[in-house]
């Protein structure tokens, strides 16, 4: 499991790789919070193109960051979910609060 970061304008792009479960969530969460603290972005985008597995622990991580960013007036988007990830995103009702885009470019434009 890995996570890497990139900043574009005022947006932090969080690229998730491998499997996001309860075990990897601690490391992922800490890495993201460190990056947010350091770069102080307005918006964040989760790039899920490299994510192969996610369960509800991953949903918890995403919602936690969502609360943090939106409480500062920022916005959150998700891009490039594989079908299996998209299903859990829908089942868990994330769809209603975090929009999903086809590419990072569209996400940045639309956020």
């Amino acid at each position: 499991m890995g996570v890497s970061f990139e900043t574009l304008n005022n947006t932090l792009i969080i690229k998730l790789n491998g499997e996001l479960d309860h075990h990897s969530s601690t490391y992922i969460r800490d890495s993201i919070d460190e990056a947010i603290l350091k770069k102080n972005p307005r918006n964040i985008i989760f790039d899920m193109s490299g994510l192969n597995f996610m369960d509800s622990s991953g949903i918890g991580v995403i919602i936690g960051r969502y609360k943090q960013i939106t409480s500062n007036g920022g916005k959150v988007g998700i891009v490039s979910m594989k079908p299996q990830i998209k299903r859990i995103y829908e089942i868990c009702g994330l769809k209603r609060i975090i929009p999903n885009y086809d590419s990072i470019k569209t996400a940045i434009e639309k956020l």
């Binding site: 918890g60 299996q84 089942i91 868990c92």
Partner: protein, 143 residues
Amino acid sequence: MRVDNEMKLEFLSKSQNESFARSVVAAFAAQLDPTIEEITEIKTAVSEAVTNAIIHGYEYQEGYVTIICRIIENTVEIEVIDKGKGIEDIEKARQPLYTSKPELERSGMGFTVMEAFMDQVDVISELGKGTTVIMKKTFKKEL
């Protein structure tokens, strides 16, 4: 009901064993020739139940998690068992968004995911004794 195949797996309640546990169940279920989608569903449901045993059942203390898998015709039956804390109100626990550990950023969606991905989910629990989650899924036969 004739059991066609059966296995039992016991492992320490360490979070690094979550991915191990779901791979084992997936490897066992593979004998029914499931689709990739069905395998993902089983892996996710097992991941939820095993994570709950570790976080809520044992509350990060050392204990053993047991998984029993049975193949009966084209149905897989999976029991995930812990000897931990137990659940006081099962109905409440199963409600979407309910979590007893919001401070750990739990989403409260574990049981909802298990129910969405498996055909049947039963929960047996006794306070101080532990919890057993029994999940069943029947694979569609190819025509």
